[in-house]
C-alpha cells in the first residue's frame, strides 16, 4: 500500500518507478483521480450538433456516453446498464431517441434516466418487478457536465469545484483562444502505447524533450529551444501551458546553442516546404501552445495543426492517445488542405510526435525491474514550483505530481509546491 513515504524529495523532483508499475496504485488512481474531483474533456459540441447525437468516450477507464437531448442540452453518463452491467450504447457515435441495452432491453432516455423496462409488471400479472421498484433510482450514473466555448468537460464527483475554477484563468484563456471560432472536426487518430499513462502526462508537460527527441523540429527548422517561450500553470500547478513564439530566434544563434549542446544541428529542407509553413491565426505570435489539463486532457496547437488529445489508460501497462483533429468552420478550402497536410506533423505517424511512442515504451520497460529507483526532474532547478519564461525546464512535471500526490492521499508533510 503506497504512502507519503514513497517520495525521496519534498519538491517532487524524484519519482520512484513503482508509481508507474504497481497495479494497486493504478486501481487507486481510477477511484481517486479519474472518478475523483477532476474534470475530463468529453468531446466537442460540434461532434453532437443535433438532438439525439451521441458519442462514446472514456473517463479514465470508465466508459461514458455524451449526448444531446431534444431540448439541446448535453448529458453524459457512465455507459453501464443499471440492471446487470452491460454496456448500454455499443456504437461509438450516432443519433438516437433513447439508449436500449441489448441484454434485457432496459431503456434509458437521453438524460440517462431509466424510461422503460420490458415486462416490468410481468405477463398476465405474473412476474416482473415488485410494484415498489423505483425506476428513478436506477438510471445510468450521471456525470456533471460543463463546457468552455464548445469544449465539453465532465466529472463523476459531486464535490468537484466548478469547471472554470478547476481550470483557472490561464487555461481558460488558452481555451478561449483555441476555440475563438466554431470548430470543425477533421478526423481522429489513435495510438496504443505500452507504457503507463503518467509517462504521457509528463511528456506533454516536458518542454525539455521536444527539440531533443523530435529531431525533425530542429532539422527542418520548425521549433527550437532557443525560441522565446516557456511554461505557465494554474494556481495549483496541476495544469500547464507550454508555449513558444515563431521566428523569435535566429538560425545562427540556434546553431551555436545546439552545437554547444552537442546536438545535431545541420539543417535540411523539405521538397514540399509548404507543409511546415505557419499561418498565424490567433492574433498573436504563438506557433506552439500545448495546454495540459489534469489529469488527461491536452489541447495542442503546433503551427496550424490543431488537436485535442485524451489520454485513455488501459491498465497499468498501456494507454491510448485519442486525438481529435480540428479546423474552423470558416477555413477556406486552401486552409483545410493546409491543415490536412500539416496533420502529417502529429499523431502516431507524426513527424514531430511519433518518437513519444518509442521513448515512453522504452522508459516503461527499462524502469520496471527497479521500482525503488527514481527519475530526476530538475531542469529549471528544484524547489518551489512556478512559471518560467524560458524553455529548458521540466518544472510542470513537478506540478503534476504535487496534485497527483494530493488526490491519491500521499502528499508528504512539508511538501514544496
Amino acid at each position: 500500500m503506497v504512502t507519503a513515504a514513497i517520495w525521496p524529495m519534498l519538491d517532487y523532483s524524484r519519482v520512484p518507478y513503482r508509481l508507474y508499475h504497481d497495479a494497486e496504485i493504478y486501481a487507486r488512481e481510477q477511484q481517486r483521480i479519474f472518478q475523483g474531483p477532476t474534470w475530463s474533456f468529453l468531446g466537442l459540441d460540434a461532434e453532437i450538433p443535433l438532438p439525439g447525437d451521441f458519442r462514446a468516450t472514456w473517463v479514465g477507464d470508465t466508459p461514458v456516453v455524451v449526448n444531446r437531448d431534444a431540448t439541446g442540452a448535453v448529458h453524459a453518463f457512465v455507459n453501464r446498464c443499471a440492471h446487470r452491467g452491460a454496456l448500454v450504447r455499443r456504437e461509438l457515435s450516432g443519433n438516437a431517441k433513447e439508449h436500449i441495452c441489448i441484454y434485457h432491453q432496459w431503456c434509458y432516455g437521453l438524460d440517462g434516466g431509466l424510461s422503460a423496462i420490458p415486462f416490468r409488471r410481468g405477463i398476465r400479472g405474473q412476474g416482473g418487478l415488485d410494484a415498489g421498484f423505483d425506476m428513478r433510482a436506477h438510471g445510468l450514473r450521471r456525470l456533471r457536465v460543463d463546457a468552455v466555448c464548445g469544449a465539453v468537460f465532465g466529472t463523476l464527483a459531486a464535490d468537484a469545484e466548478p469547471l472554470e475554477d478547476y481550470l483557472g484563468p490561464p487555461i481558460m484563456a488558452q481555451l478561449r483562444r483555441l476555440f475563438d471560432r466554431p470548430v470543425r472536426v477533421l478526423g481522429y487518430n489513435r495510438q496504443r502505447i505500452r507504457a503507463n499513462w503518467k509517462l504521457y502526462a509528463e511528456n506533454t508537460r516536458d518542454n525539455y524533450h521536444a527539440s531533443l527527441l523530435h529531431e525533425f523540429l530542429v532539422t527542418f527548422g520548425l521549433d527550437r529551444s532557443t525560441q522565446v517561450g516557456g511554461v505557465r500553470m494554474d494556481g495549483r500547478h496541476r495544469h500547464n501551458i507550454t508555449w513558444a513564439e515563431a521566428n523569435s530566434d535566429t538560425a545562427e544563434f540556434a546553431r551555436e546553442a545546439y552545437a554547444g549542446a552537442r546536438v545535431r544541428n545541420d539543417y535540411l529542407s523539405l521538397k514540399e516546404p509548404a507543409m511546415v509553413a505557419f499561418h498565424p491565426e490567433h492574433g498573436d505570435k504563438l506557433n506552439l501552445a500545448v495546454t495540459s489539463v489534469f489529469p488527461s486532457s491536452v489541447f495542442v496547437q503546433i503551427s496550424n495543426s490543431l488537436a485535442i488529445r485524451q489520454i485513455r489508460p488501459r491498465g497499468v501497462d498501456e494507454f491510448e492517445v485519442f486525438q481529435t483533429m480540428i479546423g474552423y468552420d470558416d477555413d477556406s478550402p486552401e486552409m483545410t488542405l493546409h491543415r490536412l497536410r500539416q496533420a502529417n506533423l502529429v499523431g502516431p505517424a507524426g513527424f514531430v510526435s511519433m518518437e513519444d511512442g518509442e521513448a515512453l515504451e522504452i522508459a516503461h520497460r527499462a524502469s520496471r525491474p527497479e521500482p525503488d529507483r527514481a527519475t530526476i526532474i530538475e531542469l529549471g532547478g528544484g524547489g518551489a514550483i512556478s512559471d518560467r519564461d524560458y524553455r529548458v525546464n521540466d518544472v510542470p512535471l513537478r506540478g503534476f505530481w504535487s496534485y497527483y500526490a494530493e488526490l491519491l492521499g500521499i502528499e508528504p508533510a512539508g511538501a514544496v509546491r
Binding site: Q191, R192, E215, F216, T219, L340, A349, G357, E361
Partner: protein, 155 residues
Amino acid sequence: MSLDRAAVYDLFAEYGGLLDETRYDAWLALFAAECRYNVVSRENHERGLPAALIFCDSRAMLEDRIMALREANKYNIHTDRHLIGLPRLIPGDGEGLAVEVPFAVYQTDQEGETRLFAAGLYRDRLISAGGGLKIRDKLVLLDTFAIPTLLATPL
C-alpha cells in the same frame, strides 16, 4: 491470365518485398511521377472525415516522408513483413486500372518477437508508364487504426 494480370501480381509482390527489405528508393520507383499516397483509418473513412494518418498528395511529400524517416525520425527498431492477398481487379472506367488488395503487416522486434501490426485494404489506381505498371494513387485503408506504438515505416 493476361499480361496485365501478371503485371499486377508482380507489382504487389514487388511492393511488399521492397518495403520489407527497406529499399525505399526502389519502392518510390513503383509510384508514378504524379502520385498520391494516403494512409486513412477506417474510423475517419467511414465517417467521411478527411484527416489521414499519412497524407501525401504529391510525390514530393512522399519523398519527404522517406527523407524524414532516414534523417530525423526515431522509431522502435523492427522489421516488417507484408503479407499481401489476391489482387481484386475492379471493373470500371477512369484512367488506368483499379485494384483492391487485402494486406497484413507483421512487425518483429530485435529479439525476434513478432506481432500483427496492421491489417487493411489497398485501394489502388495503377497506370502504365515507361512500359510498366506504376501506382498513380494509393489509399491504404487501415483496419488497425489503433496504431500499436507508432507508424514510421510505410505500409
